[in-house]
Amino acid sequence: MQKQEEVTPLFSEEYDIALTVNGHRYERRVPVRLLLSDFLRHELHHTGTHVGCEHGVCGCCTVLLNGEAVRSCLMFAAQADGMVVTTIEGMAGTNSDLHPIQKAFQEKHGLQCGFCTPGIIMTVHAMLHENPNPSDEEIRHELSGNICRCTGYQNIVEAVKLAAMRLGEQKMEVE
């Protein structure tokens, strides 16, 4: 296949990729038109990443790409070559303990049907990493790229605040 070893890269319909998803390394040959969202769901069978609108509006397919929240439906699997991807499956601990963000959503009833929830959890993860103590307004602003048709958002905001508090406490304990 084409890759760095050839001097002039040629056009092709398939591409060899090696990437890390939730700590596991995968090497695959993929059609170049395969979206990252479909690669995660159909190739790796990580169906927690949901596909809603498939044009970047709903936010359900949000994953972390090298730590940054991105729409997995708006990039090709080929473009994730060499990258580190985290999906909702990578959030809970190895012995199935929920991540503090997931736990907060469960306790505060921050979901109903759950379709949008994986994308929201990944967005919140990125948000709290950058801003560990967001205001209500900042939470609503940062969540504006994730659409939820059930909850009315109130409990989502409550869940994010609870998660922020607990993650802050955890951090203090470590220190």
């Binding site: 002039t8 890269p9 092709s12 038109r33 044009h55 990039m75 504006s144």
Partner: protein, 290 residues
């Protein structure tokens, strides 16, 4: 839906990319952040036979201060500009405008140059470049050319780019220290496409009258549009209520008759355009240096 079939290449050198672009120039598209282009592919509104992915081209990854402008290379993501200390320090208007683009997840992938090349009349950066009358650098295997914003945006999603050419750099002119600046837009929800937006820069004279004004709009015509008539109503004034009312009146005339859609009627857009004009000019004037 899923993207149509295409042939893909991801070169790491600009020369290679330009050569590939030239091979089948009529049927090749450049992929950068993909936040507008991939939706077009997914919805099958675009179906190029060849795609050149420029994300691996390190030489296009720069934000640099040049003589009188800030230069941004084609692989710089909007989020990087948003976080850039250089941009915050040297071009606060650009830093302000960037925050209004889409959502955080979109800005994490979307590029500044890609937004200019896509030339959406409802997008923020084309309006800003029009306001500042900045320039773009366009390259092909045959050479390069520099195009002014007013000549670059030619219509709805249309630019002066020719087949085989790639937009490699956008140049945002720096704003004089005495000038005031502002950007405002109106959207129903944070991150949505705005119905109307306006960017303004005003420069005062020594006796505190308006020496010069630049204002440009998004969402009111088939392309980003500079409000020359609006500018002429306020030059020489102190931006008092009378001058702002005249500016608003002139601004509302700029809205194209065909700008009615499910989000806003043309009448509503005219009202919004007038009101945003007043507010953006007022804010810019308040920020002027004395």
């Amino acid at each position: 839906m899923k993207p149509p079939r295409f042939y893909y290449s991801a070169p790491s050198m600009l020369d290679e990319a330009l050569a590939l672009l030239d091979q089948n120039s009529e049927n090749t598209k450049v992929l950068a952040g993909g936040q507008s282009f991939v939706p077009l592919l997914n919805m099958r509104l675009a179906s190029p036979a060849y795609i050149v992915d420029i994300n691996h081209i390190a030489e296009l990854h720069y934000i640099e201060q040049e003589d009188g402008y800030l230069a941004i290379g084609a692989t710089v993501r909007q989020r990087q500009v948003e976080r850039s200390v250089l941009v915050q320090d040297k071009h606060p208007l650009l830093a302000e405008v960037i925050k209004h683009i889409g959502h955080m997840q979109i800005r994490n992938r979307g590029t500044v140059v890609g937004s200019i090349a896509h030339a959406d009349p409802a997008a923020e950066l084309p309006a800003l470049l029009t306001c500042l009358n900045g320039e773009v650098l366009v390259q092909s295997i045959h050479g390069e050319r520099v195009i002014k914003a007013e000549e670059f945006f030619t219509g709805y999603l249309s630019t002066a780019l020719e087949p085989g050419e790639m937009l490699t750099e956008v140049r945002f002119p720096l704003i004089a220290s005495k000038a005031g600046w502002a950007f405002l837009e109106f959207a129903r929800r944070s991150g949505d496409y705005a119905m109307v937006g306006a960017s303004a820069v005003v420069t005062p004279t020594a006796d505190d009258h308006c020496l010069s004004a630049h204002i440009a709009y998004l969402g009111i015509a088939g392309a980003p549009i500079r409000g020359l008539d609006v500018e002429s109503t306020i030059v020489g004034t102190t931006l008092d209520e009378t001058a702002l009312d005249a500016a608003a009146q002139a601004a509302s005339m700029l809205v194209s008759d065909d700008m009615s859609d499910v989000h806003a009627t043309v009448e509503f857009r005219r009202v919004l355009t007038g009101e945003l004009t007043k507010r953006v000019l007022k804010t810019a004037w308040e920020r002027r240096g004395l």
